[in-house]
């Protein structure tokens, strides 16, 4: 119900622009020219923004997935119960840090570190945003990944250990294949969080609307673009409506990601019940 309501209201504000003569959906999706406030040559192409979103998310996942899954395996298989409880609490607190604080960390601490170590002219860029997003999505990957590992029946573990396998052999021969889908869902939910994140990337990625050529380029993402320009766009103007349309695009992307994660998890549950 609420999903429909959200979709309806966001869409309602966006619809008029779809039928206006100056607007083409093809340009919206595939053009890199975004000049919303230009006087003579107004262009609304979101390809550069989409590219920004995907570059930052992809790099964030390259960092977050190994660490997240590694930490999940450690928490679930390699440490004692006391350490496990402590780590889980730390992960929970890590997940609770507000995005604006992450953005602030990116803007102040991380950008200094990056511009000093790499010599990049500006510290707010793809790399910065990716590190911040990685730190933000690791807790989700860890907690859901750990659930997935825990969902593997204990009989599997006991059987492997009884054959003399070490915990590491148990993990990569038995648990990883068995928990494959759950771990995939964990990664997908991490991606969902990274794509939808607004404030952190707004503050940490810089503000250049173009397709990035390297990880030290500044970019702007779909989310950051809405946050940055919605305040300036007068209500009802084409610019305002295009921003809502960007919201629809974003909503669709995260909806597909979350839905597939949900289907993957559900698939596991059904299999578990059948067995």
């Amino acid at each position: 119900m609420f999903v429909l309501a959200i979709f309806f209201f966001v869409f309602r504000e966006a619809v008029p622009v779809l039928f206006s003569p100056d607007f083409s959906l093809k340009e919206f999706l595939f053009s890199t020219e975004w000049y919303p406030t230009s006087a003579s040559n107004v262009r609304y192409g979101t390809l550069a923004l989409t590219a920004g979103t995907f570059s930052v998310t992809a790099l964030a996942m390259v960092i977050a997935v190994p660490f997240g899954l590694g930490a999940a395996i450690f928490v679930s298989e390699f440490c004692g119960p006391k350490m496990r409880e402590t780590l889980k609490i730390v992960i929970e607190l890590l997940a609770a840090i507000p995005s604006v604080v992450w953005g602030f960390i990116g803007l102040t601490i991380m950008s200094k570190i990056i511009s000093q170590t790499t010599g990049a002219p500006v510290g707010v860029n793809v790399l910065n945003g990716a590190i911040i997003l990685a730190l933000m999505s690791v807790p989700i990957i860890v907690s859901i990944g750990e659930d997935a590992l825990k969902a593997v029946p204990d009989g599997f573990r006991e059987a492997a250990l009884a054959l003399g396998a070490t915990p590491w052999q148990l993990v990569y021969r038995v648990l990883l294949p068995a928990a494959k889908n759950g771990l995939l869902a964990a990664v997908l939910l991490g991606v969902g969080r990274a794509v939808g994140e607004t404030m952190a990337v707004l503050m940490a990625t810089g503000h250049a609307v173009h397709i990035p050529s390297g990880i030290l380029d500044s970019v702007r993402t779909l989310t950051a673009n809405i946050a940055a320009e919605l305040g300036e766009a007068p209500a009802g103007s084409p610019h305002y409506r295009v921003l809502f349309l960007t919201g629809v695009l974003l909503f669709s992307i995260t909806f597909v990601i979350n839905l597939s994660a949900d289907l993957v998890i559900r698939g596991i549950r059904r299999k578990g019940r059948g067995a």
């Binding site: 450690f74 890590l94 919605l230 909806f255 979350n258 839905l259």
Partner: protein, 318 residues
Amino acid sequence: MSSMETQNVAQTPGNQEALSQVTPRFAETPAVRKKLLCQKIAKIIFGLMAAAMIVPLLLILSYLVAKAWPTLSWEFLVDVPKRGMTEGGIWPALIGTVYLVFISLAVSAPIGILAAVYLNEYAKDNWLNRIINLAVINLAGVPSIVHALFGLGAFVYAAKMGYSIISASLTLAIMTLPVIIASTREALASVPIAFREACWNMGATRWQTIKAIVLPNSISGILTGVILQVSRAAGETAPIMFTGVVFYKAVERGTLFPYYLNEQCMALSMHLYTLSTQVPNVQESLPYATAVVLLGAVLLVNATSIALRVYMRSRKKW
């Protein structure tokens, strides 16, 4: 590797000398040694990965606190911003956040809990409820900026509430609702079905059962979920920045009721964003101190909820 192991095992019994020697029964063959080495390396690598997540966090936190230390004081909390927000305290933002959080939860907690009770105790497994379930799950994954667009379109313009505390709170309420529903359902589902069956057998109706058995046994879980959303609502920036929160609003120092519901207000998260990106020449420790206050409040609320959960779990009788 497994074939090597079988070979070793096969050789050992044949070797009479080896049996007569005093070597321990399960001597380490090269394969076993390799296996154990792999195990050690794997454990260290995964341990480092877990540590790599926590160590930077501690470094960052201590750096933030160190930077903020000169400014952090009671005075900082209750004072108002001065000189174009480059000096002074954070009182208007602090109290604004409290307003937003309480109003949004006053809306979302009752609706969320009732919805969860319905879904968990009454609803049958038909297509409508499956769609509702799916919607709840997906609603939790909607990006916060899309919530902002929704709030702007629905509350500010369509419902004509304007840019106000009430619009911002309702937007936050919509955002926290699905998570409250999910956590409440989990708490309700953790009450064993036998409790309910026992109660029904005594002739109690469904509602009597819920009131007397299910809710008292799951109240701690429900509370934990709601408390967690306090911290989430306090930390969010994007959904409120276009629906009712402004950069600056003058209020008197230390007043408890500075805002009307149809006015705009300041909020802590927005204040941090403003200080760090929009205001030039801000006193250096000021944004750090704001970040630490926001972070401290959020972590404190979360720690409370975790402590509550651990305490209730230790008291659980089944």
